[in-house]
């Protein structure tokens, strides 16, 4: 149920993001989703890829500061109020969300949202009890 997300530390200077994508490309790694959060000095690039282990080693070898974080890929109805419903469910059980980002998949009518929460296992329990689909690791990598 838990998906491996790759986090990369990037200084805010030109060309660094291009370099990351180049390394992934030349290692035949496909990016499924990404998000960047930044301050004035540095940013953290978060990636969901088809082969997280290979991505981790390739970036590390290239000298990047990389880490693997567990996140959840949650199916959210692609209609008004869809995300609100999921957030309300998590909120009612006091599950804190550190961050989230979304991408629309080609395969399904639903939207896919990546959640980083404090307690993955409890979040999975709560979501499933409320019939919200949490995607399997293999499913996400194969998207």
């Amino acid at each position: 149920m838990k998906v491996k997300q790759i986090s990369v530390f990037l200084e805010n200077k030109s060309g660094r993001l291009a370099e990351v994508t180049q390394i992934l490309g030349s290692n035949k790694i496909n990016i499924r989703a990404l998000s960047i959060a930044d301050t004035t000095d540095f940013g953290i690039l978060r990636l969901i890829v088809n082969d997280p282990d290979a991505a981790y080693s390739a970036l590390r070898e290239a000298g990047f500061m990389v880490s693997v974080t567990e996140v959840l890929a949650v199916e959210v109805p692609d209609s008004p109020g869809g995300l609100a419903g999921v957030l309300a469910t998590l909120g009612s059980q006091s599950i804190n969300i550190e961050y989230l980002y979304a991408f629309v998949t080609k395969a399904s009518a639903d939207a896919l949202v990546i959640f980083r929460v404090e307690d993955c296992d409890r979040a999975i329990e709560v979501l499933q009890a409320n019939r919200i689909n949490v995607l399997d690791e293999a499913e996400v990598y194969a998207l």
């Binding site: 986090s7 200084e11 590390r60 000298g63 880490s67």
Partner: protein, 430 residues
């Protein structure tokens, strides 16, 4: 006005006689009271009675910051602690400060020396003097404070910081003399303008600036922003604090109180004294201090000496503005900062690689220090919060050791220069 005409305008011959007798007493004092100096003199086979002329100065041992460190805190004091009424300290190179002491008489001497400098700058008992140095271990505030009181000026001990309040005090109290680091004068002027106050409309007429080196250009800038006369003064805690030398209104160098301090300029490499007019490292020997005398203290400051009589009437030798340093000490907002201090802080923090780059940004009115560090890849969790906590802990540790705030910037691993020898670790912001 000349505060102490007898000593400030002494003819060279009488001055040298006075200096010699004081030097002989000094050597006697440190030889019998300070084991460090006794050892250093014995190593050179010098006995106090061997000092026959001022020329013998060149045979005496130098004293450096490392000697102060080795004798921390009171090892170089030449007066019993019962007679020491005050200590001050400046930042050291490795975290421990260097400590200096004063007897009752030293404090009185200091006030006299400051009274000279203050009078040279034209400050009298008609002035209201606002002291914007921080009152504490550093010598700046207290040193100037007592000398200003000595001439009868009304002292406003505003201390450092709280700019809005400083401006309010200047307006309400009718401040006529500003006592601060020069960079702070620029900053204050800018802050006043932002509040819609024209600094030229205030009553300020003169500034006594010191604690950090500044250029003629910066002086012109301060003068035109405030509509005042900007004067420079120089000192260092190891010698006495402020009061070693100061500018008169001729603006042609800083008069050194030579009856209290023997000054030399040496070649920092060969350690040989240089003739007047040549640029070298300033070396001071205190002639009258009781608690903390120093023999040939190497300041690491570079300057040129001029022995000519000044148009103001004073006969004391003048030094030019400090032209640079022989070591890598930085002066940030009046506070001495050694890269080695920053290094020792970084070494003690987990999650940071022991490499760093210092960026000194003098473009704004206040000099800013940026410390670039590399997080250790093994502590990277991918969480923003963790990185910010790391940045914050580095900032707080630096603040507590350096006494100034530095900006901390995390950079990617292995991007800071690594060399076998001394890395180029200081840059100026462009």
């Amino acid at each position: 006005m000349i505060w102490d005409r007898e000593h400030e305008c002494m003819d060279r011959e009488s001055l040298e006689r006075l200096q010699l007798s004081r030097l002989q007493q000094l050597i006697k004092r440190v030889y019998h009271r300070v084991p460090h100096y006794r050892q250093a003199l014995d190593d050179r086979d010098i006995k106090p009675e061997d000092i026959k002329s001022l020329d013998d100065l060149k045979h005496l041992p130098f004293t450096g910051k490392e000697d102060l460190r080795r004798n921390y805190p009171y090892g170089l004091f030449a007066a019993p602690m019962a007679e020491v009424v005050r200590v001050h300290a400046s930042s050291g190179t490795t975290g421990k400060p260097t400590v200096v002491g004063y007897t009752q008489r030293d404090i009185a001497t200091w006030a006299e020396l400051i009274a000279r400098i203050v009078s040279q700058a034209g400050v009298t008992n008609a002035d209201v003097a606002q002291v914007c140095f921080s009152y504490g271990l550093f010598t700046g505030a207290f040193g100037l404070h007592y000398g200003l009181e000595r001439v009868g000026a009304t002292v406003v001990p505003a201390s450092a910081g709280n700019t809005a309040k400083q401006i309010m005090l200047m307006q309400d109290f009718g401040t006529t003399a500003l006592i601060s680091p020069p960079s702070y004068a620029l900053y204050l002027a800018e802050a006043a303008r932002e509040e819609g106050i024209d600094p030229r409309e205030l009553k300020l007429k003169v500034g006594l600036f010191g604690g950090e080196p500044w250029t003629e250009n910066m002086g012109h800038q301060i003068e035109s922003l405030w509509g005042i006369k900007a004067t420079d003064n120089y000192g260092l805690s190891e010698v006495i604090g402020p009061g070693v030398s100061g500018e008169c209104l001729e603006g042609a160098g800083l008069h050194i109180s030579e009856d209290h301090f023997l000054v030399e300029v040496i070649d920092p490499e060969t350690e040989e004294p240089l003739p007047y007019g040549e640029k070298g490292e300033l070396v001071f020997t205190t002639l009258t201090k009781e608690a903390f005398p120093v023999l040939r203290y190497r300041t690491r400051d570079l300057a040129i000496l001029n022995p000519e009589k000044c148009a103001c009437g004073r006969t004391s030798a003048r030094m030019c503005k400090v032209m640079g340093r022989t070591d890598d000490m930085l002066i940030i907002r009046g506070v001495n900062v050694f890269p080695s201090q920053i290094e020792s802080v970084l070494m003690s923090i987990r999650g940071i690689a022991p490499h760093y780059l210092l960026i000194v940004d003098t473009r704004g009115p206040l000099t800013q220090l940026e410390v670039q560090v590399e997080p250790d890849p093994s502590v990277f969790t991918g969480s923003f919060r963790d990185l910010e906590a790391l940045e914050d802990s580095v900032r707080r540790r630096l603040q507590s050791v350096l006494s100034i705030s530095a900006r901390v910037k995390l950079v990617e691993p292995k991007t800071l220069e690594r060399t076998a020898g001394k890395a180029q670790r200081i840059q100026s912001a462009k």
